[in-house]
Amino acid sequence: MVEVKNVSKRYGNKAVIDQVSVSIPKGKITSFIGPNGAGKSTLLSMISRLIAKDDGEILIDGEHVNQAKSKELAKKVAILKQSNHLNLRLTIRELVSFGRFPYSQGKLSREDWKHVDEAIRYMELGDIQNKYIDQLSGGQRQRAFIAMVIAQDTEYVLLDEPLNNLDMKHSVQIMKVLRRLVNELGKTVVIVIHDINFASCYSDYIVALKDGKVAKEGTVDEMMECQVLKEIYEIDMKIETVNNEKICVYFK
């Protein structure tokens, strides 16, 4: 379980995250939603120690994030940020093999390569695994990076807007993989996501942030309510039920 207790982050005088407390359940997909600038990515970055917090505590399985050894934490938590520009000449397979670094420290054993192969298979990248990263389309690149995170084989997988710039097909593909990670491998997935309907269809738990505070959190059913979403996004919308999934219609 990830526990965030009274965490704040300030840039100058502005609190981007203001006394946030939230706990993220194990073995579930948790989505962070909210308007731009609500602090979703910042919170995710703090949980994964990419940026330091100013106040409060973050515990992962009862251990303080900042006190844990970075190397050990890398076997437990993996983070993927949204912009992944690489100016390197490396293939998908080589990129995925980087995911084993916390275990191998650069010298991959047969066991490590097995994990790499599995991750590549999981993301269906087998045919193009020897292609160079800079020759890939956006969707393929995103899948390659997610494969790397899978190869890292951590209990917690944090993804910052994994669907950014992806078309419908690739978005669905990635969300399905995340679902499988949780259902089949028992991982805990936390994502920052903008598409409310993807959040509704695929997550178990939703945390809504607004102005650096938790506006509301709850299960999908609790969160996918007209009143709740209106308050968060400040626009009119309707919630319809299609094939047992709650879909938010907000386009007009």
Binding site: N87, E94, D134
Partner: protein, 316 residues
């Protein structure tokens, strides 16, 4: 051709050039010439390795392939130190002054400067490395202006001596200075070994490196210190020559087309040695000392740099 073979080829070329340098045109008095040439070649290999090594590490840390560690302002500081020494003590005293002492003073001042720079900058959390580079650049410019100011004031004869030091030269490397340099470089390399495995991961960028369990701030700080020490030692040994690093590291990237630092490191060091030994051969045997090595290196390097800039928009 595989990367392993390329490395073997480069090694063979480096050894061949070194042998040519050592044994051609020896004449009769080889018991006099050989030890002197040996000393020179040793200094060349040492400097070449240090420059290539520090530039590669620096570029990996900054994730930028057109930067050199000279942006930290260390070689400007070296020129300032030399100018101040001559300004204060005069050239007569300086020639008397122990070269060893001069070397030690220069290295210590440069390393201390780098240390203070890092200390101030890393105290503030969240400062990114480009801020460090910016401050280094500003200090470098300041040192340069201050140096030229003093150079304007001093006697023209003394200025000649400074000018002599503005260009890298292997023509008067001293044995005792070389010994200290070897010791310092050996310890630095030993210290570096445990960080070697992080280089590949660091080239993925800060966030990926942290994600993969690299203690980023700790590692980058240590690596920057290694870079500063190497640059200081090689600059104090032969003079400002950091431009060479840019050249050889990029040739290594073009040649090996890989991200693996084991190849890149070995490759760029070998290319650096080839460039320096080859350049020195041309200076001594073709131009018979009518030009200096840095002129040749800067000429070839400059052309290559322009080529690189024109090509960079296409990426590799």
């Amino acid at each position: 051709m595989s990367n392993g073979k390329k490395l073997i080829l480069l090694s063979a070329m480096a050894v061949l050039l070194i042998l040519v340098f050592l044994f051609t045109g020896l004449g009769n008095n080889w018991d006099y010439a050989l030890p002197r040439r040996g000393m020179k070649i040793f200094a060349i290999v040492l400097t070449g390795a240090a420059i290539a090594f520090s530039t590669l590490v620096f570029q990996t840390i900054t994730n930028n392939r057109i930067l050199t560690p000279s942006i930290l302002g260390l070689d400007s500081l070296y020129m300032l130190i030399q100018t101040v020494l001559i300004f204060v003590f005069g050239s007569a005293n300086l020639t008397l002054m122990n070269k060893q002492l001069n070397f030690v003073i220069s290295v210590i001042l440069m390393v201390v400067f780098a240390g203070i720079l890092y200390k101030i900058l890393f105290k503030r959390e969240g400062e990114n490395i480009y801020f460090l580079l910016l401050v280094g650049l500003i200090f470098g410019t300041f040192f340069q202006s201050f140096t030229s100011f003093m150079q304007v004031l001093i006697d023209p004869n003394e200025f000649q001596i400074i000018q002599d030091r503005m260009f890298a030269s292997f023509n008067n490397v001293q044995t005792d200075v070389l010994t200290i340099a070897v010791i310092v470089l050996a310890f630095t390399s030993l210290y570096f070994i445990r960080f070697m495995k992080y280089l590949d991961v660091l080239s993925l960028g800060k966030e990926q490196a942290i994600n993969l369990g690299v203690d980023y701030d700790y590692t980058v700080k240590r690596l920057l210190i290694v870079v500063a020490v190497l640059i200081s030692v090689s600059t104090a040994l032969v003079g400002p020559i950091t431009f060479l690093g840019l050249l050889v590291v990029n040739v290594a990237y073009e040649m090996f087309r890989t991200f693996k630092h084991s190849y890149l490191l070995a490759g760029s060091i070998l290319i650096s040695i080839i460039a320096l030994v080859g350049g020195q051969l041309i200076v001594e045997r073709v131009f018979t000392f009518s030009t200096t090595l840095s002129v040749i290196i800067n000429f070839v390097g400059g052309i290559y740099f322009i080529y690189l800039l024109l090509k960079e928009n296409k990426k590799w």
